[in-house]
Symmetry: D3
Subunit: 190 residues, 6 copies
């Protein structure tokens, strides 16, 4: 509605005639259901952005739910177009972000329990790890209808096609064969 009413094509979503908009355009269900965390990282993200909720188009806000198995982690990643405010719904997380080069790459961390809120500024690398004995659940709000997500390991070592191993070897001070091995793992979606 509102802004969206007048927007037809902004951000690539075709906004319907606002006179035809219904509650369904502003609605999504299912964020109470635990995501499947039986994967390598023991983590699952359920998104609620403009791809699931067309009415979010031009509104500049979105959200997602994160499930963590014990020891599961949301690995180092960035949202290129949004800051994030995270609420722990269940469990105990260890969350942190790292400041930029000119601030000495300082690690800012906090152990978060149920009901704790933590903030991740736009574009900074951050992560959260389930350090409790049970599953953990968090819910985050972000100030973009399509914040994007760039998982560092997947993006660096799992790019398609792969980044030349020699380049990454130098950048990360790794043996080129280690890089190749990482690229094999991440490039195949592992």
């Amino acid at each position: 509605m509102c802004v969206c009413v007048l927007v037809v094509f902004v951000n690539g979503k075709f906004c319907k005639d606002p006179k035809l908009a219904t509650a369904e355009d502003f609605f999504l269900s299912g964020l109470n259901k635990p995501g499947n965390t039986t994967n390598r990282l023991g983590v699952n993200e359920t998104e609620a952005n403009v791809e699931q909720i067309p009415g979010l188009n031009t509104l500049g806000v979105s959200a997602f739910r994160i499930d963590y198995a014990p020891n599961g982690q949301s690995p180092p990643h960035i949202h290129p177009r949004a800051s994030e405010i995270l609420l722990v719904l269940e469990g105990t997380l260890y969350a942190g972000f790292v400041t930029s080069d000119n601030l000495n790459n300082t690690l800012i961390t906090k152990v978060l329990h149920e009901g704790d809120v933590f903030v991740f500024p736009i574009g900074l690398i951050h992560f959260h790890v389930n350090i409790g004995n049970t599953s953990a659940v968090a819910y985050s709000g972000l100030n973009s209808q399509f914040p994007g997500e760039i998982t560092i390991a997947d993006t660096i070592f799992g790019a398609h096609p792969r980044i030349k191993p020699d380049f990454l070897a130098k950048a990360f001070q790794l043996d080129p064969n280690v890089v190749k091995d990482l690229e094999n793992k991440f490039g195949n979606g592992n």
Copy 2:
């Protein structure tokens, strides 16, 4: 951090020297605790914005928790500087917003259960009512570090000093004495 690092006085919050920033600046606890809903409306809001979390300054995002007693309601209100994405954590809500005058003041509503998400566009009047038999809890993300809240009834009938009853009587097609009565109720914080 990040943007905030360089911001000293934006939006009235004095940003500390970023080299002195700590995790506490980005942290808030207590959103797991039910707010006290023993009030006329049976509702309570716990805020997590720049007033509670100084690190939010300039980041353009915030959140709050809402508790509803049975039949409790978050009455018609607006956020003048933010859109909102709400997640139902417990209970059953009836939520809605009304479009602007040029769209015929159309009411868009939805019954929301646990895990449902609903969106309220910036500046539109919206409300949510607990229509279940138990307490309800919701958590919202907003795209402003200080979104503001304007509860319609409190603002119209509870302004300090009061708006001239004759004006409101005409605007709302109410008897001036009814308006005076409302102003007595709302102006005293009832």
Copy 3:
């Protein structure tokens, strides 16, 4: 021109090929003509936004003229996407806005005479009443090409379909029958 030159579909208005733009795209006539104020509120608004002036698309500015019969009023309303700067061209107005909940819903008012300017911040509820013996005229500039208008009474009590009377009765501390009566009045466009 300018920004608009390159904008085809932003905000839902189809911007013509800038090479084909003419003065008509940036022009509107008729704001010297008094609007018809023979209505319940004794007020009339003549708009000059992107719906009347297609060249405003993406330029972020618009305007309107307001006519007030004696005792006429622009009732409590908000513009969800713009701040407003009003100039009194004729007559005497009593204008005001109410601050948000966290500032105690403070009423800020001023009697305005010809040549006076008053400002209404984005998203705040405001109103202006003709308190003179003659017709009054004002002209306002707003910082959005489509600022929107939400008249509180029409939106709360005249929504289509109506908001459940019990909810509004609780929110506004009114008898449900009074709410029903109001909804009958406003819902029928009275």
Copy 4:
């Protein structure tokens, strides 16, 4: 209020504690008084921006009144930070703007009578001339609390210190002595 409430130092205006804000902070009088047009150009501008109305700080809107003697003109100028929507209150203006180099510097003009509205996109050179037999008056809204004004002739030929005449002679295909003469005229405030 609103946004400004929380802004202390944005845009160089020290915003007072919002709890101390009064109606005077949002008010300006005197725009009904004709400005003095007994000057070379026969024009006068009365401003209503953040310098006169401190409450405009961060609100992104402002206005001004323009008076024109017969044959008076608002000479070619730009507002570096705002688009403008102009309403003719009295008289007959010939108004125009010129598109940018890549659109062939097309002149878009319109004769404007009382009640006509015309739009000037951000950063484009525009002008308005009183082509009627009487004084003319216009009122403009702009989408910046401090839009700025750059009168081309004063800026080019009246800069302090002067721009080297040889440079301007080449740029404007004028004899250097003509440039010097212009600089003498404009540099002294004529």
Copy 5:
């Protein structure tokens, strides 16, 4: 990519399906080649904006190269939608901008040598002149994907159709015949 990925029609450029984007969409060659400066002003600008690089759409940045013959000049001009940061690659420039009317049209200038950087704020009139004995080259970054360029002399005296000479004569304190002469020169692209 990124933002653009989701943008279909913003700013009038039809963004391709991001899954089909290639490196060519983010690439331009040829800025090492001197532009042809055998023209009246002895200057040439090679652009690198969204018209040449479609992937710039929505990214808010662009660039251009400027070549200057000895004594060549980039004449007084403005970018209506961007600030500019210029780097001198070769030669010696005299660069300046003029502040707005309310700051007394102050001329701010600097002689720039190879490796010097100078900044031109959005919407201010600026110029750069090759004051060395050799060709000069500069490269500029701007914060808009389509910053626009308004050369003052071409826009004022070379508009199509021409601005009425009497108006410009008064604005610039020139004889109308001088204005006509200028308009003949600039209107024909000289």
Copy 6:
């Protein structure tokens, strides 16, 4: 000037009274001097942002020069607050960026020669490697006065204090001892 004129404290830089601004506030020298590339990566960046040029405050643009030894590289990094447009001044670079997770982490690369321009969208991981036999030089414009830089390897493995090795081992599918080794290398500034 311009916008900055009125800005006192935005983004943490104390803007001087605009009437006292001089050309030095908008100037920086030395970008013609090759940076020292005798370091592990064979790369050097010379910045021209608001920290070096105070007049950039609020103008939303900056730049830097990059020097690359043969085989030198600007390793994978992001700018959290800006898009970048790079021009190759000398040499041959291999440049690339990787799209976000929802676009399959696609690697977009290009070999760049002198005079080639390439674009890096805000927040995406990108890199450039000198693949020629000689030194290379590039110059970039960015749409922020303080874009920030987050070198991935330094931020992940060189944070202070270090990120718990077990977490990174899991995220990057590395042996914890390899992570520890990396952290020793990067944490000491190697």
